[in-house]
């Protein structure tokens, strides 16, 4: 079932994130709606991961509130480096993990599950990799498979952690197109943590700029974030490049 565009999926009210009760960012009030693509940007150590973990409900907020739509289905696409290469996980087995959840913990379903996983791999253009080991794939192939798992979850809201890290230009382009597909499939919202500020802001509807060192947590449309003085302070060279390109 396709989500109605603009439907509220997750909203925060005065959300303060941090570690062990100590705030690292100022309060943040945002609403993530169906069909939106968000870019979470900021320098290294700016609090991006802490924000994502808090929004996902993995760590408690220091203060404030998070409201999720009832029965909201979430998916998380980890950084490639977060997956331990010692595990012999095939591409098919990895995508099958996307079908596991409270109603299907054991995944003993058999053929129906395999068919759903194969369909997700098809969508991601990774069906040919089905029998390969995830650890043996190139960075671009692996990222496609990671996104295939998110497609298999049929989630309403997908968080991606640095999906384009260490990819060449072609692979990066393919992955960004796949992220678009993730959003288009059923009107899901996508939140992408990215260090590719240009690409992120170019594609995103909305952006969240975080900078722990300067106490910045600003959310707005991508164009508005690009115009913020805080953005110029953090990403001055990108703003300069943009000015040069303008007539």
């Amino acid at each position: 079932m396709r989500l109605p565009a603009g439907e509220r999926l997750l909203s925060t009210e005065g959300l303060v994130v941090g570690h062990e009760g100590a705030a690292i960012l100022p309060p943040l009030t945002i609403t993530i709606a169906a069909g939106e693509l968000w870019a979470v940007i900021g320098p290294n150590g700016s609090g991006k991961s802490t924000f994502v973990r808090t929004a996902l409900g993995l760590v408690p907020p220091v203060s404030g509130a998070i409201t999720r739509r009832p029965a909201l289905r979430l998916a998380y696409v980890p950084q490639q480096s977060a997956l331990d290469v010692i595990f012999p996980i095939s591409v098919a087995d990895f995508v099958l993990m996307g079908l596991q959840g409270p109603g299907n913990v054991t995944l003993l379903g058999g053929r129906a599950n395999a068919a759903r996983a194969a369909a997700a791999l098809d969508e991601a253009g990774a069906r040919a990799l089905e029998r390969r080991q995830l650890r043996d794939l190139s960075g671009g192939q692996r990222q496609r498979v990671l996104i295939a798992r998110a497609l298999a979850t049929d989630a309403d809201l997908v968080f991606l952690d640095e999906p384009t890290t260490a990819l060449d230009a072609t692979a990066e382009h393919e992955v960004l197109q796949l992220i678009e597909k993730l959003r288009a499939k059923r009107g899901a919202a996508v939140v992408m943590v990215t260090h590719l500020v240009e690409d992120g802001l170019e594609r995103a509807d909305r952006a969240l700029l975080l900078d722990r060192d300067h106490g910045v947590a600003r959310a707005a449309t991508a164009a508005e974030v690009r115009a913020l003085p805080e953005f110029a302070r953090v990403y001055g060279r990108f703003v300069a490049r943009g000015s040069e390109a303008s007539p």
């Binding site: 331990d84 595990f87 095939s90 087995d93 993990m97 959840g101 913990v105 003993l108």
Partner: protein
């Protein structure tokens, strides 16, 4: 009995099978149970945890002997005088298996705990458990003389026969825990491989981890009481490593590790009988030999595949 000419024959083994049958079954079941659970132990990089837990279980058994002698010295001595059957039926309070389980679960708690607030790593705490348990077992062993042989058997797995009831306990644990693992293997794998993704999708990661750690603690405690700490540590690590060296299909890895664990348990016992050698050591050596053979096979296969690739022309890149 180190004279080769005097080594027991296959006929001797067959003729005495009734005596050794229970011990062989315990070896097979323990190997199978620990082999299967060991896949998670190895993949989650908690190898040292099973060693520390086995050592703690051995200390638990030693403490049960010592405390029983302290609390009721006359009854304890009477038990010895009455013979093995009476001695191995102490009051429930001093039942070595219970002490082994308690000590194992305490050690498991250390593994579950997050010592970051103490500015320590989990591995360093496990090192503490291993060393303190090992030292404790030796010290307690020095205080008890009557069960010194039993204690040595528990520490090094040198017992040729198992205690009454051990087979029933190990068999029950094997059926229940292997059954649980057979149902939950994919869930446990997801929780170990990508815990954050699993939690986001609503998987009960904490409950799954508790099940895994409890099953490690319980199986190690029961098998340590029956076989000894050395083979238990070996079974919880080596068959899984061997299976991982032989195949990359994760479902097959669990099956192969289970079978190799059982084979090591039985094969080690047979080698012990034929060579008149300590059982725990031969079971460990059997599992080690299988791993060495698997690594050699993998090395040879990799070389062959590399050579085949370089000689095949024209070279094509994978899509």
């Amino acid at each position: 009995m180190n004279d080769i000419a005097a080594s027991p024959s296959w006929h001797d083994l067959w003729a005495n099978l009734a005596i050794f049958k229970d011990a062989i079954w315990v070896g097979a079941l323990s190997g199978a149970l620990l082999g299967a659970i060991g896949v998670h132990v190895v993949l989650r990089r908690m190898v040292f945890a099973s060693s520390a837990i086995a050592q703690a279980a051995a200390l638990g058994v030693a403490l049960s002997f010592w405390v029983a002698a302290l609390v009721d010295p006359s009854g304890h001595a009477a038990g010895h005088a009455a013979g093995p059957a009476a001695h191995f039926a102490p009051s429930l309070l001093f039942e070595p298996v219970l002490w082994a389980i308690a000590a194992s679960l305490l050690a498991t708690l250390v593994f579950v705990a997050n010592p970051v607030h103490l500015h320590l790593t989990r591995e360093s705490l496990l090192g503490f458990v291993f060393l303190a348990s090992g030292a404790g077992a030796v010290i307690v062993g020095a205080k008890i003389t009557q069960e010194a042989h039993d204690l040595e058997a528990i520490l090094f797995g040198s017992a040729v026969v198992v205690q009454p009831g051990d087979l029933a306990l190990v068999a029950t644990a094997t059926v229940l825990l292997l059954g649980g693992h057979a149902v939950l293997w994919r869930a446990l794998l997801f929780a170990g491989y990508d815990p954050m993704g699993a939690r986001v999708q609503g998987m009960p990661v904490r409950a799954l981890n508790v099940f895994l750690f409890l099953s490690v603690g319980l199986s190690v405690a029961l098998c340590t009481r029956a076989l000894g700490a050395l083979p238990v540590f070996a079974f919880s690590v080596l068959p899984a490593m061997t299976a991982l060296a032989l195949t990359a299909r994760i479902g097959v890895v669990f099956i192969v590790a289970t079978l190799l664990g059982a084979f090591s348990g039985v094969g080690g016992y047979v080698v012990s009988f034929k060579g008149d050698l300590p059982v725990g050591a031969t079971q460990t050596a059997t599992a080690s030999a299988l791993l060495a053979a698997a690594l050699l096979f993998r090395f040879a296969r990799a070389r062959y595949e590399r050579r085949a690739r370089t000689t095949s022309a024209p070279r094509t890149d994978a899509a």
